[in-house]
C-alpha cells in the first residue's frame, strides 16, 4: 500500500478513536469549550487530510460534520444527545470507509446523502427546536443495510486488523534508545564469546551460542526499525525539478526507481542534502535547453533518472541525466589553471581520472557558483559528506549524451566491522569499509614490500603504484619506538579515489564494533571518528580514514618542502591555504574574500531594494539587511543585483558585487602591504593579481556596532608569536590574515580563560592583543590577571576596542595594558605592534 495512504489511515483512525471518546465526554460536559474546540479541530484535520488525498466521500462527510461542530463550538446551538448520536454515526461511517480504503486502497463508490442530509438539516436548523435524530431516523434505517460500502466496511471493522492496527507510532528517541541497548548487548555478547574462546570446555558454550544467535537476530530487527525508504528523501525532488525547469525554461522529466529501498535513518539524514544538490546540478547544468536539445536531435524533454537498490551491505544510488555531459577539456583547462595538475600530467590522465577533479575543493566554474547561489556547496562537499559515512561516489560522463553519478553508501553506521591495529602500546580500530588490503613490510631490501623514503616522506611501492604512507605512531605522536622492529604492517586504505597506507606496528583481528561518538572535549580531533568498547572491555579509539587520508596527502604534498614532522606539516599546510571567493566589483581587478566569511551568495531583484534614510536595505529572511556598494560601483544594467551576505550573530549585511568569478584554494600570501580602505593587500590567484578584500571595512560601514560577539579558535605562524584574544570569530578571521601578512605568528582564541589555560600549559608569546568587551571575563580583568603572574607579566599587552574615549584609554593603562589600539584603525595595529616589539627586543 501507498506509504502516504497508510500514514493517513493510522493517523485518521487515531483521531477517530479520540473523537469517539471526546464526543461521549461531551454529552456529560456539554459546555466545555476546550473539549468542543478539540473535537472541532480533529474533525477539521480529517476533512483536510482526506481532501488532500482526494478522498471525496470522506471529505464531504467530514465537512458536513465539521459545520455542525463549528456551530456547537461557536455557541450557536446547544449540545444534545441526538446531535451527538448523529455525529457518532458519521464517525462510524468514516470508519467503515477507512476500512474499505485500507482493504482495497481506494474509497468505495456510493454516497452518504443520508448522513450529510441529516447534518445539513441540522446545521440549517440551528436554533430551531427540531430534533436532528428525528431527521436522521429514516435515513439511518436505510443506511443500516446500504449496498457496497458498509457491508465491506463492517467486515473489515470486525476483523480489526490491517495496516492501521499493525503499525504503532514510536518516538525516534525510543528507537535510538533501543539501538543503544542492543549495541550494549552486542558488546556484552562479544565479551562473553571472547571469554568462552579462552576456555576449552564450558557448560556455558551451548546457551552462549543460543544467546549469540538471538542477539544477532535482535540486532538485525532493531536495525530494521530504524530503516526508512529512501523515497522519503526524494519527496521534494519532483517539485524542485518542476520549479527549476520553469525557471530555466527547460523541459525536464524526473524518473525515480527504487524509492522503497531502505536505509538507516542516520545515513538517510546525511545523504538527503547531497542528493538534492546533485539532482539540482543535473537539472541545472546537465540538461540543455529544449532548442539546443532539438538541434542535437534529442527529445526536447530531458530525463533525470534517480535509482536506488541494495547491493551487498550497501545502498547504491544512481543518478543519471541525458544532458550535455561533462566537458572534459574544460575540466582539464580548469585543473591546469588552478594548479591542481600540469599540462603534461593531465595529458597522461584517463578521462575517468580527469573527471575526478570535479570533486576537488573549490573546483567549480563561475557558471556553477551563481546557479547554486545561496547554498555555497559544491561537489566537493557532496563527496565529503558521502565519504564521511563511509560511502563512495563515482562519476561517468559522455560528452553530448549525459552524466551518471554512482553513490554507494553503507546501510548502517551504527555497527561496523573494524580491523584492530596496534601502534606503540596503544590499540586502534580502523573501519573495514575503508581497508582494501593489508601488506607486511620489512625494512631490509630482501623483504617483498618495503617502505622507501623520499626526503623524509615514506612511500610504499605496491604493484607498480607508489602510495603515500602515514606512520600511525608519528601521526598520533605516540613516541619513538623502543626497539627497532624489523617488521611492520601497512593497512592500505581507500578514501574516495585515493589510496594511501597507514603503517602500524601490529595487526590484531577484526571485530564488530558499535561506533559511539567521542566526548565533546575530543570532538575537534579529526583523526578519530568515534570510540567503542572492545570485547575485552577496553575502550578503543576508532580512526577516521578521511582524517588520515588528508594527513597522508598533505605529507605527500609537503614532500618537496620539509620532510619530518608529518603531522605538523600537514596541519600547517591546512592553516595556510584558505578557500577564497573571487568576484568582480567596482573596477576590473578581481577581488577575493575568504569563503568562510561569506554566509550566502544571493541574487536579488533591484526593485526589492528599499531605502531607509540614505541606507539601501532589503527584506531578507525576516529582517532588514543593509546593502553596501563597492566604492565607485555603478548599479548593474540588468534587473538583478548579486550580493554576498555576511552574517555575524543576528546581524547581516549584503555586499553588492558585479559578478562571481570563482572559488579557489589560495595560500594567503599578501604581496603588497595594506593599502587602506577596503583593500587588505594584493595577492596572486591562479596567475592573476587580485585584491584581498577586508570584509570588516564594509561591515563597519554598514553596521557601525559590528564587532562584539561569539567564540571558536584558529592558529597560524610567522616571526613574532602573537596571541590574539577576541570573542568575535569574525574579527579574528579579519585580523588573522592582516597580522599574518605582517609576519606575525598568530594564535587566536575567543575566551580569556582559554588564553590563561594556555599560560598554564607553558605557552609563551611576544605580545598579546586583547579585546576589552568579552563575555565572562573582560579585557581589564584579563590583563590584571596576566600582569599578576610572573610567567606572562613581561609580555606587552595591547588593548583592542571599539571605544577610544580618553577615559577608556586611561582605564586601560591603569589596568595594565601597555598600549591601546582602536579596532577600526587597523593600519595602526600592525605599526604599533611592530614598534612595541622592536622596542622590547632592542631593550632585551
Amino acid at each position: 500500500m501507498d506509504e502516504l495512504l497508510s500514514d493517513f489511515l493510522t493517523e485518521t483512525l487515531e483521531h477517530i478513536a479520540r473523537l469517539d471518546d471526546e464526543l461521549v465526554r461531551l454529552e456529560s460536559k456539554p459546555d466545555d469549550p476546550a473539549l468542543l474546540s478539540s473535537i472541532f479541530r480533529l474533525m477539521h484535520t480529517i476533512k483536510g487530510t482526506s481532501g488532500f488525498l482526494g478522498l471525496a466521500r470522506l471529505e464531504s462527510l467530514a465537512h458536513a460534520s465539521e459545520t455542525v461542530l463549528g456551530q456547537l463550538r461557536d455557541g450557536h446551538r446547544a449540545v444534545d444527545g441526538g446531535l451527538v448520536t448523529l455525529i457518532l454515526r458519521s464517525l462510524d461511517r468514516i470508519r467503515s470507509l477507512l476500512a474499505s480504503l485500507e482493504e482495497t486502497g481506494a474509497e468505495p463508490g456510493g454516497e452518504d446523502r443520508d448522513l450529510i442530509g441529516a447534518l445539513e438539516v441540522c446545521a440549517a436548523g440551528a436554533g430551531a427546536a427540531s430534533s436532528p435524530a428525528a431527521a436522521l431516523e429514516p435515513a439511518a434505517a436505510e443506511a443500516a443495510a446500504p449496498p457496497p460500502p458498509a457491508s465491506a466496511g463492517a467486515e473489515a471493522v470486525a476483523k480489526s486488523g490491517g495496516v492501521a492496527a499493525q503499525s504503532v507510532r514510536v518516538h525516534v528517541d525510543l528507537l535510538e534508545k533501543l539501538m543503544t541497548g542492543v549495541s550494549e548487548l552486542v558488546l556484552t555478547r562479544n565479551q562473553l564469546l571472547q571469554t568462552l574462546r579462552a576456555q576449552k570446555e564450558s557448560a556455558f558454550a551451548a546457551p552462549l551460542q543460543r544467546l549469540n544467535q538471538v542477539v544477532s537476530e535482535l540486532q538485525e530487527d532493531v536495525m530494521r526499525t530504524r530503516m526508512q525508504p529512501i523515497g522519503n528523501a526524494w519527496q521534494a525532488l519532483p517539485r524542485l525539478i518542476r520549479d527549476l525547469a520553469s525557471d530555466l525554461g527547460k523541459k525536464i522529466a524526473l524518473e525515480m526507481h527504487g524509492a522503497e529501498t531502505e536505509l538507516d535513518k542516520q545515513v538517510f539524514e546525511l545523504i538527503k542534502d547531497p542528493l538534492t544538490h546533485m539532482v539540482r546540478n543535473s537539472a541545472d547544468h546537465g540538461i540543455e535547453r529544449p532548442a539546443e536539445r532539438a538541434a542535437l536531435g534529442k527529445p526536447e524533454t530531458g530525463r533525470v533518472v534517480l535509482e536506488a537498490f541494495h547491493e551487498g551491505g550497501y545502498v547504491v544510488i544512481v543518478l543519471s541525466d541525458d544532458g550535455r555531459g561533462l566537458d572534459i577539456e574544460r575540466i582539464r583547462a580548469k585543473a591546469i589553471a588552478q594548479g591542481l595538475a600540469t599540462e603534461a600530467e593531465t595529458a597522461g590522465l584517463a578521462e575517468a581520472q580527469l573527471l575526478q577533479f570535479i570533486f576537488r575543493p573549490g573546483f567549480s566554474t563561475a557558471e556553477k557558483i551563481t546557479a547554486v547561489s545561496g547554498r555555497g556547496v559544491g561537489m566537493d562537499v557532496v563527496r565529503t559528506n558521502i565519504e564521511r559515512i563511509g560511502g563512495t561516489i563515482d562519476v561517468r560522463s559522455r560528452r553530448g549524451s549525459g552524466t551518471t553519478f554512482i553513490v554507494r553508501i553503507p546501510l548502517t553506521l551504527a555497527i561496523v566491522s573494524a580491523l584492530i591495529v596496534g601502534a606503540a602500546s596503544e590499540r586502534f580500530a580502523i573501519p573495514q569499509l575503508a581497508v582494501t588490503e593489508l601488506v607486511q613490510v620489512g625494512s631490509d631490501s630482501s623483504a617483498e614490500h618495503r617502505i622507501e623514503i623520499i626526503n623524509g616522506a615514506p612511500l610504499l611501492r605496491l604493484r607498480q603504484r607508489l602510495l603515500p604512507v602515514v606512520v600511525l605512531r608519528e601521526l598520533l605522536r605516540l613516541g619513538a619506538e623502543e626497539e627497532a622492529n624489523a617488521r611492520h604492517f601497512v593497512v592500505v586504505a581507500r578514501v574516495g579515489a585515493q589510496d594511501f597506507g597507514i603503517m602500524v606496528d601490529r595487526v590484531f583481528d577484526t571485530e564488530e564494533i558499535v561506533v559511539k561518538p567521542v566526548a565533546p572535549v575530543l570532538r575537534g580531533l579529526s583523526m578519530f571518528s568515534g570510540n567503542t568498547i572492545l570485547g575485552d572491555g577496553s575502550v578503543i579509539m576508532i580512526l577516521d580514514p578521511n582524517g588520515m587520508g588528508i594527513a597522508a596527502t598533505r605529507s605527500a604534498d609537503a614532500t618537496g618542502a620539509t620532510g619530518d614532522e608529518a603531522g605538523e606539516t600537514g596541519d600547517a599546510a591546512a592553516a595556510r591555504t584558505t578557500s577564497m571567493l573571487i568576484f568582480r566589483a567596482g573596477d576590473a581587478t578581481p577581488k577575493a574574500v575568504p569563503l568562510s566569511l561569506v554566509a550566502r551568495i544571493e541574487e536579488i531583484a533591484l526593485d526589492s531594494i528599499e531605502r531607509i534614510e540614505s541606507q539601501r536595505v532589503i527584506q531578507y529572511r525576516g529582517q532588514l539587511m543593509p546593502l553596501v556598494d563597492f566604492d565607485g560601483a555603478s548599479s548593474p544594467p540588468g534587473k538583478t543585483q548579486k550580493i554576498l551576505v555576511f552574517v555575524d550573530g543576528a546581524q547581516c549585511m549584503g555586499l553588492c558585487v558585479d559578478e562571481i568569478l570563482d572559488i579557489a584554494e589560495v595560500a594567503i600570501d599578501i604581496k603588497l602591504g595594506s593599502a587602506g580602505g577596503w583593500r587588505l593587500g594584493s595577492t596572486v590567484i591562479a596567475g592573476k593579481a587580485a585584491d584581498l578584500v577586508d570584509a570588516g571595512y564594509f561591515l563597519t560601514k554598514a553596521l557601525p556596532g559590528w564587532f562584539g560577539q561569539d567564540k571558536p579558535e584558529t592558529s597560524g605562524q610567522g616571526l613574532w608569536n602573537l596571541l590574539l584574544l577576541d570573542d568575535s570569530p569574525f574579527f579574528r578571521s579579519v585580523m588573522m590574515p592582516l597580522l599574518e601578512s605582517a609576519g606575525f605568528n598568530v594564535t587566536a582564541v575567543g575566551d580569556p580563560r582559554a588564553a590563561l589555560a594556555m599560560r598554564e600549559r607553558g605557552a609563551s608569546f611576544d605580545a598579546i592583543i586583547s579585546d576589552i568587551e568579552m563575555p565572562g571575563m573582560s579585557g581589564f580583568e584579563f590583563v590584571a590577571e596576566v600582569k599578576s603572574d610572573p610567567r606572562w607579566a613581561g609580555i606587552p599587552v595591547m588593548a583592542l576596542s571599539s571605544h577610544s574615549a580618553p577615559r577608556d584609554v586611561d582605564r586601560g593603562r591603569g589596568a595594565g595594558f601597555d598600549d591601546y589600539i582602536v579596532k577600526s584603525d587597523r593600519n595602526s595595529i600592525v605599526r604599533k605592534l611592530t614598534e612595541r616589539l622592536t622596542l622590547a627586543s632592542s631593550a632585551a
Binding site: 596503544e426 565533546p520 572535549v521 568498547i533
Partner: protein, 164 residues
Amino acid sequence: MSGARTSAPAAPANADQESQDYVTVLVGAQLFGIPVLQVQDVLGRQAITRVPLGPPAVAGALNLRGRIVTAIDTSACLGLRAADTAPAEATISIVVEHRGELYSLIVDQVGEVMPVDIASLEANPLTLDPSWRDISRGVHKLQERLMVVLDIAALLDRVVAIPA
C-alpha cells in the same frame, strides 16, 4: 548508576539544614570537597585508554559499565603538575556528570563523606591563585585544615575550553 543519575546543581545546599555533605579528595597536597550529590561513583584502579593528540588535561577514556567516560587529569587541570610530565596513574577517581556526559576525575586520594557546617564556608581568599578562583566555590575552615569546594562545572568547562 545509569538508573538513578543525579544531575544536581553546582552546590546543592541542603535547604533547611545547616550542613552540607562533601566527598573529600586529595589532589596533590590540597584537600578538596565535592558536594556529595554530584558524585556518581568512586572508581578504583582502571585501565585508561590514552587519546593521542587530545587536550593535555584529558588522561584518556575508560569503560564504566558499558559507558565511555572521559578521564580527566585533575592535577594537571588545576595546574598542580605540568601535563606533559608522567601521566596520572588512575588509582582512584570520582565520576561526575557534566552537560550530559560522564567524566572521571583522577585524584590522589578519596577520603570519607563529611558533613560540613555551612557556616564555616568562606569566600575565596584574595590571595587564592587566580587560576583557581573560578573553580573554587569557597573555602571551608575545617578543624585541622582548609577544604576548597570544587566547582565541577567550572573545572570541566575549563577542560573543554582549552584548545587541543
